[in-house]
């Protein structure tokens, strides 16, 4: 849609997919079916789709990992920079395609940053002088010069991914392909990485193919959006606005825009505000109504008073006060290193606080053994895979019961729990074979089979797609309805907007804010997209906005011509746009 003189006008596209069909070994259904599209040199391509739709597979076709590394059956053709990955294999293609993977922990062979960057060059038998030049280049491109002598395991997740990108760039590839590089990172690092990629594309013209869930961060800079649908195996490819208008999966802003019928689709809050400013909306509803919908009443089930904890002399928690009522979901937010995980560990007994009080239903939890506490307190760690080792899903639940000696009389029937977790069809399967969302639910089952009254979740939505997140929220609401208190540590603002009754901010070892999410929306850092779109409205989610606007009756049936003019700069004779407000159109958030 944007016109770029010089781009997209070449005869030979950089990447050409020609009726590509790929089937995994042992599978009857193709993972990619008849995919045909082109990428031009210098484009920033975003590949979107639900988990399991084939984004990773598509990316791996670019450098021949599919099918050389994975096996399987390939039909059709892929041509990248004049080479044929399917025939030549990843070794030859490594000079043309740089690849960055999802897990920052599993990409490094050597333990020094500089040596890791040189690894690819060593394998390609590049001369030492040339190597030094390229390593300098790569370090500079990714802002890694101060870290060059550091050991890789001392770096943060974001820095590790930067090193991976630098290592990929050292070969001066024509294309940089990245498979969900930010899904394991916190928002700040993710922002860093994505902005870095944008810069690489815009200032250096590096062709980038990025698979990503967090579409909103890069949508404005993207030249082409490729959408893979898991249902009909179809592929949509084209300018961002066009593809977005045809699909369900979109960030809240776009979903709202589609529902209201704003056209052309705004991709940033700034663009959206031009539309939103034309619509009068009511003053904020009292947050009490919101809270009333979700939280149950009751006095505090969990009480934390004046908790102190120091690690190696460094104070981490300095007087934390927090109460959680029965059936309440409190979201705990804060920067990395602010002590959120430490607080959770104190609660479950893995570390012992130096002073303070933790009480649940009047009984102190301090000093009790973890094994004791965890009957009443369920803790889902950041890596749910750490829990899984049994042969079947059903056995995982049994093991916890046996550990507690509750096998004979379980507090909740394991089969019932499996149904609630939507895992009843996979009861006999090996847990590690399942998808990320399912594995997380198995782990959840393993810690909640004892029917704990307090549930602690540490960054549960890392790496999950929209659908899995919704599943999780539904589950949490069910547990809340049964009276469990939930403490959720997260960075995900949209999740907080959807699920939390209260938000607590942890900073400098203390809780500095503790209020319903509506009141936090005025803060630019913590406000979800909808809130930023309609500041002062108290709306957090797309549903809120649609309800609010619907009750207003204004502007919901079409785009305001004024707003459209403001964006496109010309007069439109189409009149009021097509009505698109059907509830099924509200895509996932």
């Amino acid at each position: 849609m944007r016109s770029h003189p010089g781009r997209g006008s070449r005869q030979h596209p950089l990447v050409l997919f020609d009726h590509l069909t790929y089937t995994f070994p042992g599978s009857s259904v193709p993972a990619l079916d008849d995919v045909s599209m082109e990428f031009q040199e210098g484009e920033f391509v975003l590949v979107a789709g639900a988990s399991g739709a084939g984004k990773s597979t598509l990316l791996r076709c670019l450098n021949g990992l599919v099918p050389h590394f994975t096996g399987g059956l390939v039909r059709g053709e892929v041509c990248v920079a004049g080479r044929y990955p399917v025939v030549e294999g990843p070794h030859n293609l490594s000079r043309y395609v740089g690849f960055v993977f999802q897990d920052p922990e599993a990409q490094f062979v050597v333990d020094r940053v500089e040596d890791e960057i040189a690894f690819a060059l060593e394998n390609a038998a590049v001369s030492p002088a040339e190597m030094r030049l390229r390593v300098e280049e790569a370090l500079h491109l990714c802002d890694l010069a101060p870290l060059r002598n550091r050991r890789v395991d001392t770096l943060s997740g974001g820095e590790k991914q930067k090193v991976a990108i630098a290592a990929a760039l050292a070969m001066r590839p024509r294309i940089l392909a990245l498979d969900e590089p930010t899904s394991q990172l916190d928002p700040q690092s993710a922002e860093d990485i994505l902005q870095g990629l944008v810069r690489l594309n815009q200032e250096l013209g590096v062709t980038i193919v990025l698979a990503e869930h967090r579409l909103e961060r890069v949508l404005p800079y993207v030249d082409r959006l490729v959408y893979l649908s898991s249902s009909d195996r179809g592929v949509l490819s084209g300018p961002a606005r066009r593809v977005l208008s045809e699909i369900d999966l979109s960030p809240p802003l776009v979903a709202l825009a589609k529902a209201i019928g704003w056209d052309p689709l705004p991709l940033t809050v700034k663009e959206g505000r031009r539309f939103a400013a034309q619509i009068p909306y009511p003053s904020p509803r009292s947050s009490g109504q919101d809270a009333g919908l979700r939280a149950a009443s009751g006095d505090a089930q969990v009480e934390i008073r004046n908790l102190h904890f120091a690690y190696n002399g460094r104070p981490v928690l300095q007087g934390v006060d927090l109460q959680i009522a029965r059936g309440e979901l409190v979201a705990l937010m804060g920067r990395n290193g602010s002590g959120k995980t430490t607080l959770l560990r104190c609660l479950v007994g893995l570390v012992r606080p130096d002073s303070g009080k933790i009480e649940m239903r009047g009984e102190s939890l301090i000093g009790r053994d973890t094994v004791d506490i965890c009957q009443d307190v369920g803790y889902l760690p950041q890596e749910p895979d750490d829990l899984l080792f049994a042969d079947t899903v059903g056995e995982e639940l049994d093991i916890t019961l046996r550990n507690h000696g509750l096998h004979g009389r379980p507090p909740i029937s394991p089969d019932e729990l499996l149904v609630r977790l939507s895992l009843e069809d996979v009861k006999e399967r090996y847990p590690r074979d399942l998808s990320a969302g399912q594995r997380q639910r198995v782990a959840l089952g393993a810690v909640t089979v004892t029917r704990p009254d307090l549930l602690l979740l540490d960054e549960p939505t890392r790496g999950l797609d929209y659908r899995a997140k919704l599943e999780l929220v539904r589950l949490l609401r069910e547990w809340q309805a049964e009276g469990a208190s939930i403490l959720l540590v997260t960075h995900d603002v949209e999740l907080v907007a959807q699920a939390a009754d209260r938000v607590a901010l942890l900073s400098q070892g203390e809780i500095i804010a503790n209020e319903p999410p509506g009141l936090l929306t005025s803060s630019p850092v913590f406000a979800p997209q909808v809130a930023r779109l309609f500041p002062g409205s108290g709306w957090l989610t797309v549903d809120d906005a649609l309800e609010g606007l619907g009750s207003q009756g204004a502007g919901i049936s079409g785009s305001s011509p004024d707003a459209r003019r403001a964006l496109t700069g010309d007069c439109d004779s189409e009149g009021v746009g097509q009505p698109r407000a059907s509830s099924s159109e509200r895509g996932g958030t």
Partner: protein
Amino acid sequence: MMTQRLTSRRLTSAAIYLLSGALGLVAFIYPFFVPVVAPDRAWAHGQDAPLLTAALVGFSVLALMVELQGRSLSAKTVAMLGVLVAVTSVLRFLETAFPMPGGFSPIFAPIMIAGYVFGGRFGFLMGTFTLLASALITGGVGPWLPYQMYTAGWAGLTAGWLRSLASAVRRPRSGRVSRPGVGAGHLSEDCGQARTRWSILTLCIFGFIWGLLYGAIVNVYFWPFAGGPAEQTWAPGIGLGETLARYAAFYVVTSLAWDLARAVGNVALILLLGAPMVKALERFRRRFNFEVGDIGQRAGSTQEEAGIRV
């Protein structure tokens, strides 16, 4: 033509194993024979003995490594070896945190189990590299290292043979080439309970034997220093028996307790942890269609390895 090449390949690799084993054997038993067979030589050259032995064992290890490693290790094998060696090393440090009888080393059980699941070749490499990595990290590199690597490697190798043996015994091979000691130990679908128990039991026996043998072999290094050939052994009446007795005494004094602890520890670990570990590794192997590249296959021909059809 292909089968011809394969057969000669198998022959040569069998020969290399044999010769390398023979070198190791001679290294082990020479101190007992030399004083008897060539008494007047022994004294004058007794001093070079440990040097020579270490060098020869070193060459033996080198040859086996070249043979097994060559250039045909795929990225998957390399990565797996690296990670498994890391896991075993970490387990080793963990166990030192607990008061365990000296000599007990938790690294042999994983080496043998890995060799059992992934084949003798993998087991040999894992044994060698684990000892090497441990030595590098703990600063224990020394002239005894070739012996350590050698023995640990053979422990892993024989564990792999055990598997091929087990499958050969249970199901007569039909059309599948069985490569003793070198093959990947093609996984047969039947992983029945009885078979697992039998395998674990045999692994335990192997673990016990290797626990003792490891100590015995590494001790041979120190033997010439403690009770090496000296003129006194040429007093009349001294024979092979006497020398052996002296070595036995040396062994008992210095390392029997250690080695027993190790051997018993191996058995305990394999007995208690063996079955779940084998199961987990087997499953992993099935999930990833993992086969250690066969001899004669060039590295980078991942096409064959991945089994693709285009």
